[in-house]
């Protein structure tokens, strides 16, 4: 009985940690989904751009010994800027109906950013500042890591900030109009290119938060996580249903929680295999995602 | 030949088609008209299997077609054209017709290898004949996207004919055509029927519909509101209200129809 109880606490604890960390996946998923919603395209550079932002933030930390909060802020801003550059380089001038070209260009940008990071850091992991990493909240048999709770809270705040911009501001109105009716929005005098650029910057800001929070939760930033984070972000986007923000949030938390379960039972080497299997399960049984409300756009 | 019973298609809460009953007899040129959004194109898409029906049945030559994919229905003898022309733009005119050699005779008469990897003399002759009929004899090597609008329409018509269908569904074939092209189209449709093909014509251009069809069904809001000969339909009060309005009196048969 005692063993069983102990194991139960262990598993629920690890699921809880996963859910908290899953908020970063949710953010990355929202970013992918936001851009997909606006342009009907996948921005493969997105996760890499988010981590690039975190690296800029880290540079601020190393160079001027900025405080953790400033680091997070700089990360978000830098990632927003990278988002804008990626938009111009990979989407702005490629015909809107040519999905293949935009996809390829953004993959090119993914490798470009990845390689820059590898060269700038010699490929080795760097320590990333965290907040509240020495705090541990006690809840009966459970402990909640302060840094994870902080990461979770920031991600939730970021999500609400985004939703506020999308649903309460004129800018967000234009963004949503373009994502729903491109041509009609154009006829109403909305500048589609500007709106798309704004979407990329918004997604970038969010990605910078996600990137720096990922690094803060793990404690290090490493070029090794670029491609895995891209793939996990894509998985979250698809499981959540392409274009669905609530779906991306639910899927992010789901992937975060389940991945720790896989970690607990199967170890770190096999963990990601099961996350990928989870995607196939969804593709076969729920190809339109958790809430099944995704629009069929391809 | 074609029997629709209680055919319905709902998109979410929208009833694009609601309980349509329709019988098209062999050898007919059957017109299906109605205002925009009345369910005409939906009917075509249901008959050839692009959409799955919400309720009802489609029988073709006595066989239940429900659940069969488009390519199976084509081999059973149902071919179509599209409202907005859908050719294979980066294939040549010749290839567009080559790809379409999928009638049940083609499938059964040739072996696997000749069908997919050879071009038998019979196939070449057949494609040359189709090109000739479509007045595209000299354009065989042209990319389909390089054709003029009228030529693209003719090519699509020829591509549908390539399957040697028993029933041909024409989805607004006269859209965007000049008077003269419409007259030509009328002649093509009649020639097609005379070669033994039943025609279901969905059309807005009243000159064409009133000129070539023998039976007309009128749809509005997903329901059939009238049925009869062109003359009867034109005199029908409900139809005039719903759709034809004053334009009915202006329409006249296409040239060469008498």
């Amino acid at each position: 009985m005692g063993d069983f109880w102990f194991e139960f606490v262990e598993i629920t604890q690890t699921i809880g940690d996963g859910l908290l960390f899953g908020a970063t996946y949710a953010l990355i998923g929202i970013g992918f989904t936001l851009i997909f919603g606006a342009m009907g395209k996948l921005n493969m550079t997105y996760a890499a751009a988010s981590l690039a932002g975190a690296y800029v933030g880290l540079a601020a930390f190393t160079l001027v010994n900025a405080s953790a909060l400033v680091v997070f802020l700089v990360s978000a801003l830098a990632s927003g800027l990278v988002g804008f550059i990626v938009y111009v380089a990979c989407f702005r001038f490629i015909p809107i109906d040519n999905h293949l070209a935009a996809l390829m260009a953004s993959i090119g940008a993914l490798f470009f950013i990845d390689e820059i990071i590898v060269h700038a850091t010699d490929g080795s992991p760097l320590t990333f500042p965290a907040m509240f990493d020495d705090v541990m909240l006690e809840l009966g048999s459970y402990g909640i890591r302060g840094d994870l709770l902080f990461v979770f809270a920031v991600c939730i705040a970021g999500t609400f900030g985004l939703l506020y911009v999308l649903y309460r501001s004129r800018l967000g109105l234009a963004t949503r109009a373009v994502s729903q009716q491109d041509v009609a929005a154009r006829l109403c005098g909305i500048d589609v290119h500007r709106t798309n650029a704004v979407t990329f910057v918004l997604a970038g800001l969010l990605g910078g938060i996600a990137g720096s929070m990922t690094a803060a939760a793990v404690g290090v930033l490493s070029p090794l996580i670029t491609v895995p984070l891209t793939i996990k972000g894509l998985i979250v986007t698809v499981i959540g249903g392409l274009g669905s923000i609530p779906g991306a949030i639910a899927a992010g938390l789901l992937v975060g929680g389940l991945e720790n379960v896989f970690l607990y039972f199967r170890g770190v080497n096999e963990r990601d295999m099961y996350v990928l299997l989870l995607l196939f399960v969804f593709l076969i049984f729920r190809p339109h995602g958790i809430f099944g409300s995704a629009i069929d756009r391809d | 030949m074609l029997e629709l019973r209680g055919l319905s298609k709902h998109f979410g809460g929208v009833k694009a088609l609601d309980g349509l009953d329709l019988t098209v007899d062999e050898g007919d040129i059957f017109g299906l008209i109605g205002p925009n959004g009345s369910g005409k194109s939906t009917t075509i898409n249901l008959i050839c299997g692009v959409y799955g029906e919400t309720a009802g049945t489609v029988h073709f030559r006595g066989n239940l077609m429900n659940g069969k994919p488009p390519h199976t229905r084509l081999r059973a003898g149902i071919a179509r054209t599209f409202q907005n022309i859908r050719l294979f733009p980066n294939l040549t005119v010749w290839q567009n017709l080559w790809v379409a050699q999928n009638s049940s005779q083609d499938v059964s008469a040739h072996g696997f290898l000749p069908r997919w990897f050879g071009a038998t003399r019979r196939t070449r002759k057949e494609i040359a004949r189709l090109l000739e009929l479509a007045d595209l004899g000299h354009k065989g090597d042209e990319l389909a996207s390089n054709l003029a609008f009228g030529e693209q329409r003719r090519l699509e018509f020829a591509r549908a004919a390539a399957a040697r269908p028993k029933l041909l569904l024409l989805d607004e074939p006269a859209a965007g055509m000049s008077r003269q092209e419409i007259d030509n189209l009328g002649r093509r449709i009649r020639r097609m029927r005379d070669s033994g093909v039943t025609i279901l014509l969905v059309e807005h251009v009243m000159e064409l519909v009133m000129g070539v069809t023998e039976q007309i069904a009128v749809l509005n809001f997903g329901y059939k509101i009238a049925f009869g000969t062109p003359g009867e339909v034109q005199r029908d009060k409900a139809v005039q209200e719903a759709y034809l309005g004053t334009s009915a009196s202006k329409s006249r048969p296409v040239d060469g129809s008498a």
Binding site: L42, F112, E115 | P70, L74, N90, L91, W116, G118
Partner: protein, 300 residues
């Protein structure tokens, strides 16, 4: 000399990889999973020659068959998703395969050593060519026999009705269905053929390199696979070959002085090419103009 022969072998192998994506792209399917089929071919062939001690030819054919079987299986669920969803699904498949081999340990004793895949340490000692005394020339010829066979088969297919049907599906699925083409059959066949070709490439790669590990088969390799036909255009198999020679021969070798910075140039090149020529460097129109210019515009 053997260094350049190695490069010629690599160009042949990457041509196979590119052609495996080419077949799929004709039907309008974009797969970032070709690295996965390549990996299955590489590991299967290696296991067959090293652990089961089969000769190279049956091992290679069996490996290609195994890869095509998995491609066939992936083909069905992949049919339910289109376009960008297919891209995600195939990346996920490829990553799954990579992680599977990352975890695969299958060691058998041979004399006083152990051979076989050794999870994170990779799969070493795939020494069929060395053990049987093949010269570099013979290996190169062996690789290119397969390249030429595959290219000939695809070239011939392309000029036949089957090729036109593949392209028709790629241009407009709805119209293709409506003229009687069985979409499922065509797409799954293309997927299976692509898996087979990638499998051959992988098998050849494992034996020429004598060592593979999971890091060989990343998304970067999958990106190369689709970059070749995109840059070379979909009008002919030769475009893919030219693109491979250009990227692997001219760019990678020519930029050797840049050292590790080459991948950055690769990334920039893709971005630039897609902005300047979004539908590939050789699209159908360009190809037809070229064909007319040299008087090759045949009846079919």
């Amino acid at each position: 000399m053997s260094y350049y022969l190695g490069l010629v072998q690599l160009i042949g192998i990457h041509t196979l990889l590119g052609l495996s994506a080419y077949v799929l792209m004709l039907t309008g399917q974009l797969s970032l999973g070709q690295a996965g089929f390549f990996a299955i071919g590489a590991y299967s062939a290696g296991i067959l020659t090293v652990i089961f001690e089969l000769p190279i030819l049956p091992a290679l054919l069996a490996a290609a068959a195994i890869a095509s079987f998995f491609a066939f299986l992936v083909g069905f669920p992949a049919l339910r998703v289109k376009g960008l969803m297919l891209v995600v699904a195939t990346i996920a498949f490829s990553e799954f395969v990579r992680l599977f081999f990352f975890n695969l340990s299958w060691r058998v004793p041979r004399g006083d050593i152990e051979v076989g895949p050794d999870s994170t340490n990779g799969f070493r000692e795939i020494r069929f060519f060395v053990a049987n005394g093949w010269s570099a020339w013979e290996i190169t010829a062996f690789v290119w026999i397969f390249v030429i066979l595959v290219m000939a088969a695809l070239w011939w297919t392309d000029r036949s009705r089957a090729g036109a049907v593949l392209r028709a599906v790629g241009e407009d699925e709805l119209a293709a269905q409506s003229v009687g083409i069985n979409l499922t059959a065509v797409k799954v066949t293309a997927m299976t053929a692509g898996g087979f070709i990638a499998g051959i490439g992988g098998a050849l790669y494992a034996h020429t390199a004598t060592y593979v590990d999971h890091l060989t088969f990343t998304v970067l390799l999958a990106t190369f696979a689709i970059a070749y036909p995109i840059l070379g255009g979909l009008s002919s198999v030769f475009g893919t070959l030219v693109a491979v020679i250009f990227i692997q021969g001219v760019l990678v070798e020519g930029l050797r002085f840049l050292g590790d910075w080459r991948n950055i140039v690769f990334g920039l090149l893709i971005i630039a090419a897609m902005n300047l020529k979004p539908s590939g460097l050789f699209d159908a129109r360009t190809a037809q103009v070229l064909k007319r210019a040299v008087g090759l515009g045949g009846k079919d």
